[in-house]
């Protein structure tokens, strides 16, 4: 089983290289991309099952024992994230192929997309702080190219915002890395988990805050998120979907991983996280309410919902962390499906602005359904997966008597519902005839080209499956949470016999 661990990183990377070589044939690129991501998905599922059954899986790169070499680790959290991201990457690739657009025009789309996939997998499996930096760089470098790939002026401009902010974050990341190494003499997570508690408490908290800031920029925490809603929506459709669904959550993953594994209870940032979470939830949703464009509304909701995850994390209880894990993977699925639907709405209605489309439910009821299911779930309405996630967060918050944050979360949840009904009433209800300036493409009876519809439907169905299989999935999240609160399991799995 451990032999499989490097594969989610290696396969897409190798496929990216081959994809460059066969760049002349888009068909070959497609086959390579699909095969690579499909096999990655299968391997990720195998890894999750393995990690859940046999405990934490570890591979030491180059055979060097930790902490000399780089450890690759798949625990339940990593496994869950790997499976979710692999599924989304695969679905969005199919969507992109169906859409044509940038995928067809640009020879580099497939290689970049595969490098992104590899970087995401590396970020999720690495057990090493420096390697995490490298993995982030892989992911980011590919994302820089993807976000500007359309080559339009506004894409380049907002891509610029994205690139500059990400570079600043990376610079600070490397500074923090250097500081951590200076203080502890190691960069291996498991090794760090043993050494950081020996530091003076102030230094521990300093590192905890510094890492929170580093990943907070990526995850889109208040007040570090402002770049996000400005840059994501302008990217080519499927790129936005995968960025919105996945990339910020890799940041969340890094926050969960580092805050639970590296720092002992007395250096945990409970209160800070709760305050940041409340502000992130609220400011994000207020931003969403102020928007008219579906993509921008959804981009602000990314931010708002990151707040829920951080809230749940900040409780540092099994219930809280289980809620955080459940909320995170569920949110990846929902966000991806909503942005894919937005791509379809844009195609069919000629725009993603609510003031320019309308009445879609009549011509394309299936599209309406594919929006309504994840949207209701995102708003946390029962019985959808988002409700279970939200309920788990509330439940954990009430258990810890964090009344204020629960109150904020409830209020934000109402505003989320408001903003989903706004999209619904704007895009799916109403009369398209009295809307200005649109170039609707109503040629498809289904609501869009078959491949785009099918891939979107698949993601929506996965979202519905979360509802149906909420019990085993929540149990899994709970087990993942127990692992996270017992870092010794991770440490002993990685370090083996060593102290």
């Amino acid at each position: 089983m451990t032999a499989l661990i490097p594969l989610p990183i290696a396969i897409p990377l190798l496929a990216a290289a081959i994809s460059v070589i066969v760049g002349r044939s888009r068909q070959a690129q497609r086959v390579i991309g699909l095969v690579a991501l499909a096999s990655t998905t299968a391997i990720s599922i195998a890894l999750l099952i393995g990690a859940d059954r046999d405990g934490i899986l570890v591979a030491q790169s180059g055979g060097w024992p930790a902490p000399i070499g780089i450890s690759l680790v798949v625990d339940r959290l990593s496994g869950i994230m790997l499976v979710t991201s692999a599924l989304m990457l695969l679905a969005v690739l199919i969507f992109a192929i169906g859409q044509g657009g940038v995928e067809r025009q640009h020879v580099a789309f497939h290689p970049m997309y595969l490098v992104l996939a590899s970087g995401v997998a590396a970020s999720l499996t690495t057990g090493d702080l420096f390697n995490l930096f490298v993995a982030f760089e892989m992911m980011l470098a590919a994302s820089y190219v993807l976000i500007t790939m359309g080559g339009r002026a506004d894409q380049v401009r907002s891509g610029m915002t994205y690139v500059v902010i990400s570079l600043v974050a990376s610079t600070f990341f490397i500074v923090v890395l250097a500081l951590v190494y200076t203080a502890t003499g190691t960069v291996n997570f498991a090794d760090l988990a043993g050494r950081i508690p020996q530091l003076p408490q102030g230094t521990q908290v300093m590192f905890a805050v510094a890492l929170l800031v580093v990943f907070g920029i990526k995850a889109g925490l208040f007040p570090l998120f402002f770049w996000l809603p400005d840059s994501y929506p302008t990217a080519p459709g499927p790129v936005t979907a995968i960025f919105a669904g996945l990339l910020t959550k890799v940041g969340v993953y890094a926050i969960i991983r580092t805050q639970t594994l590296l720092f002992p209870a007395e250096a945990q940032l409970g209160t800070l996280l709760l305050v940041v979470a409340s502000l992130t939830m609220a400011v994000g949703v207020f931003g969403a309410i102020a928007q008219d464009d579906m993509k921008r509304i959804l981009s602000f909701h990314i931010v708002s919902q990151i707040g829920y995850m951080i809230f749940a994390l900040g409780l540092f209880t099994v219930a809280g962390l289980a809620a955080a894990v459940f909320y995170t993977f569920n949110n990846i699925i929902l966000k991806t499906s909503l942005l894919l639907v937005t791509g379809l709405v844009e195609r069919r209605g000629g725009s993603s602005r609510l003031s320019e489309v309308g009445g879609l439910v009549r011509g394309a009821p299936l599209l309406g359904l594919m929006f309504a299911l994840p949207a209701l779930s995102l708003a946390g309405l029962p019985p959808f997966g988002g409700f279970v996630a939200k309920f788990a967060v509330f439940d954990a918050g009430v258990q810890s008597s964090e009344w204020v944050v629960v109150g904020v979360a409830a209020f934000v949840s109402l505003l989320t519902l408001y903003s989903m009904t706004k999209i619904w009433a704007g895009a799916f209800w109403g009369d398209p005839d009295d809307r200005p300036r649109q170039r609707p493409d109503t040629s498809d009876t289904l609501g869009g080209p078959a491949l785009m519809m099918a891939s979107t439907a698949a993601v929506v169905v996965i979202g519905v499956a979360v509802m149906i299989f909420a019990r085993p999935l929540y149990s899994l999240s709970e087990r993942a949470a127990e692992d996270l609160l017992e870092p010794i399991r991770y440490v002993s799995a990685v370090m083996g016999g060593r102290p």
């Binding site: 657009g101 490098v115 902010i165 300093m206 770049w227 207020f286 409700f387 279970v388």
Partner: protein
């Protein structure tokens, strides 16, 4: 079977929705299958659930039907369904009236438009959700269904989606009930966690007494009040009347709005004495009953009259169920049945009038021809039941309510509440009379078109359902014995300790009868003097117009949230990269510094070798220089100087190979810079305001100082870690195990080869990206666009927020 009933609703609803508009109004015939099945099933269960106790004396020995399915039991999310006596009452309301409404809708939608079938499908889904509410024994399952009714109600109200009023009303309904639902969810979690169970049947046996439960009670009540349109959350209900009449009759009078009352009825025996329950429920119910009645008396639209009447009656039901006294609750059970029957019938009559005459405005009704007599009779009988006239079921319920309140209302404030009920009943009498007079044409204004005189009378099928409900009202009023076992079973289901009494039409000469006579007397007076009363009301409402109404309150709240969001977002989301960077770098500078300062011990030795001093000075000077100079090329050279100084550090520290690498990279980078900068303007165009410069400088220096302090703290903490640097072991293993004498090389290609692989990838990707951008730029230049200049000018200039709706469609068309 319980689950099967719910799933049947789901299946039929989805099937109807899936069939699109193909079924037309026949969709309602299909939809009727679900309630028909439910009613049939409920009848088969009735004898078992009600038990053998006859005539309402003594305990009922009915056995509830139950079903349980785990969903996420770790969170306490599970589906526990239970059909007991009270459940049976609610099921008969939901499905009995549902069946009638489906038949009625076939007449109402005689000319189906696109979307009519959708109403039938959504209504079936709603009915399933509503059954779920009244069958759930588990509070969270109840909540799940509760929210499902809100969603379906949203879709039903807004079904005529081209009508902006319908959309607005749908939004208002879902926002208010959604807000209440969320508060309620928190309340339910509090109650569940402090009681250790979410099962209503278990809560009944072990009422929670925990301190926080008082907060939970308030939260749950807020949810119930919003759903049942209680003051001050009632504003959505009149708006919801924009929906077609069958929908209003079903959701917004007979079933969904009773969900709040239902929850209060279920929880009152458990929580009535907890916290502020009684104060809240009774005061809110009282205010709602009176205000609803007063408003109903002023309406000209028959449907709105009924809507405000419904609000008033829901307040009445709150006043009764909310007490937690089973004797009063028993009267409420009768009343809830009576209300379901007469209100649905009245709505149906209004729908008939609207359908045939084309108006619901009583000023445009001038009396009907003789063929309308059956319709008018049905309307009058149902209204009489609403007014509480004997011998109708409405009278039986109200009489029992007054009687039980007089006899058993022994809690604080019960006298006041009784007074409110009497006043509210007078108002009910008055607006019921207004309804009848309006129907008969007494409000017809001469200069308004006379539409009713030659209107076509409704078909038998159209009137049938209303007639059936009215016959039931009369029949059960004359022989309340027929419902007695059901009412008794419902009462014991609500409160296992109850010993319900008999429901009678004629209870003898008692105080309640006196009050009834008083109600009817004053009611008649109000009707007789209706003109002066209306004037008085108008003057009164003018006098209190400074008090914001609930409707206004909602609009103001909504507007302030949207406006506030816009303002807030305009501030934080400036669209300016420099500002974003400023904020991020400030956070970077400040956040970790605060804990670092607490860890600050003393300054470690800063200088090992004297040569460090000039090197450090060079680095600092060059970086400051790079940020101050205005010429691009000078800045690039300054950066090169920083790099060379770093190489100097490496030499001093004894790493000549690293220094060499650094020198090569720095030289190469500077050369590349110079080559590229040829194409750009020589100077930065600094278009930012003058204040920006000092702020930027401050933040940058602060960040630098902060990192300096962090580095000192980190270095100062090194001694507290006992283990050696991993480099020690790396050096030890390098030659013997990795067979490499150059430790740097071994680290790069062996120990940490994965990092190197990753970095190579990053390099390649960046190259690809640069080429792609350059190509895109060239394409644009060839197209004559100035986008490339735009990018060049971008760097440090403030700019407008990125336009959010670029024509992406163009890209997709290709």
């Amino acid at each position: 079977m319980l689950l099967f009933i719910l799933l049947t609703h789901l299946a039929i609803g989805v099937a109807i929705l899936g069939s699109g508009d193909r079924l037309g109004r026949r969709a309602f015939a299909v939809a009727a299958l679900a309630p028909a099945l439910t009613v049939g099933w409920a009848i088969t269960q009735a004898s078992g659930v009600i038990g053998s106790s006859s005539g309402g004396s003594g305990m009922s020995d009915g056995v509830p039907v139950s079903f349980s399915w785990m969903w996420v039991e770790q969170l306490g999310l599970q589906l526990d369904l239970r059909l007991d006596g009270f459940g049976l009452v609610m099921v008969s309301l939901v499905s009995g009236i549902g069946l009638m409404v489906c038949i009625y809708a076939m007449g109402y939608f005689s000319y189906p438009k696109p979307g009519t079938a959708r109403l039938a499908g959504l209504m079936t889904l709603f009915a399933g959700a509503m059954l779920g509410v009244v069958l759930s024994d588990h509070l969270l399952a109840l909540f799940v269904f509760w929210e499902l009714t809100s969603i379906t109600s949203y879709l039903l109200i807004g079904n005529d989606d081209r009508n902006p009023r319908a959309r607005a009303a749908a939004l208002q309904a879902i926002l208010i009930t959604g807000a209440g639902g969320l508060v309620m969810l928190v309340g339910l979690i509090i109650i569940g966690q402090s009681a250790g169970t979410y099962l209503i049947s278990e809560l009944l046996l072990n009422p929670p007494t925990d301190g926080v439960i008082a907060a939970g009670v308030i939260c749950v009540l807020v949810g119930a009040f919003t759903k049942s349109a209680q003051a001050p959350f009632g504003s959505w209900l009149p708006g919801a009347m924009v929906a077609p009449t069958p929908i209003s009759a079903y959701l917004h009078s007979a079933t969904m709005v009773k969900a709040g009352v239902y929850l209060v009825a279920r929880l009152a025996p458990i929580l009535a004495t907890t916290g502020q329950w009684r104060v809240l429920v009774l005061s809110v119910g009282a205010v709602t009953m009176v205000i609803g009645g007063l408003r109903a008396m002023r309406q000209y639209d028959l449907k709105l009259l009924l809507a405000y009447g419904t609000i008033s009656q829901l307040g009445f039901l709150m006043l009764m169920f909310g007490t937690g006294e089973y004797k009063i609750a028993q009267a409420a059970v009768v009343l809830i049945l009576a209300h379901g029957a007469f209100k649905a019938a009245l709505f149906m009559v209004v729908g008939i009038v609207d359908h045939e005459v084309g108006t619901r405005d009583i000023r445009e009704l001038h009396g009907f021809g003789s063929s309308w007599r059956p319709t008018v009779v049905v309307g009058i009988l149902a209204a009489a039941s609403m007014a509480g006239l004997p011998p109708l079921l409405g009278f039986v319920g109200k009489e029992k309510a007054l009687d039980t309140y007089i006899t058993y209302g022994d809690f604080t404030g019960s006298g006041v509440v009784l007074g409110v009920i009497v006043v509210g009943s007078m108002l009910t009498f008055a607006y019921s009379a207004r309804f009848v007079l309006g129907l008969l044409g007494h409000f017809g204004v001469a200069d308004k078109p006379n539409r009713s005189a030659e209107a076509h009378a409704p078909s038998a099928m159209f009137l049938g359902p209303a007639a059936v409900l009215t016959v039931l009202t009369v029949l059960l009023g004359l022989a309340p014995r027929l419902v007695d076992p059901l009412v008794a079973a419902a009462t014991t289901a609500l409160d296992p300790t109850a010993s319900p009494s008999t429901v009678k039409l004629w209870a003898g000469f008692n105080a309640a009868l006196g009050l009834s006579v008083l109600v009817i007397g004053v009611g008649l007076l109000l009707v007789w003097k209706r003109a002066p009363v209306a004037r008085l009301q108008r003057r009164f409402s003018d006098a209190i117009s400074w008090i914001p109404s609930a409707e206004r309150g909602f609009l103001v709240a909504l507007r302030s949230v949207t406006d506030g969001s816009k303002r807030l977002t305009a501030v934080v989301q400036s669209g300016s990269l420099p500002i974003y960077l400023l904020i991020i770098i400030s956070v970077v500078a400040i956040a970790p510094l605060i804990p670092a300062l607490s860890a600050w011990s003393d300054l470690p030795p800063l200088v090992d070798v004297p040569l460090h001093v000039p090197l450090a000075a060079l680095v600092i000077a060059a970086s400051l220089g790079a940020s101050i100079v205005k010429r691009r090329i000078s800045a690039a050279l300054m950066l090169g100087a920083v790099g060379y100084a770093m190489a100097g550090f490496f030499i001093v520290q004894g790493a000549p190979d690293l220094a060499l690498t650094q020198l090569v990279i720095e030289t190469l980078a500077t050369v590349l810079f110079v080559l590229v900068l040829r194409f750009l303007p020589t100077r930065w165009a600094d278009r930012s305001p003058a204040v920006a410069r000092p702020i930027r400088l401050t933040v940058s220096v602060a960040a630098a100082v902060s990192v300096f302090v962090l580095a000192l703290v980190a270095a100062g903490s090194r001694d507290s870690v006992s283990e050696a640097n991993i480099s020690v072991e790396m050096i030890a293993r390098s030659a013997p195990e990795a067979k490499g004498n150059n430790i740097v090389n071994v680290i790069l290609v062996d120990f940490r080869g994965l990092d190197t692989l990753g970095e190579i990838t990053v390099l390649v990707v960046s190259g690809v990206g640069a080429v792609a951008l350059a190509r895109a730029g060239r394409r644009r230049l060839m197209l004559g666009s100035d986008a490339a200049d735009e990018v060049a000018d971008y760097e440090w200039s403030e700019h407008e927020p990125v336009p959010s709706a670029a024509p992406v469609a163009g890209e997709m068309d290709q």
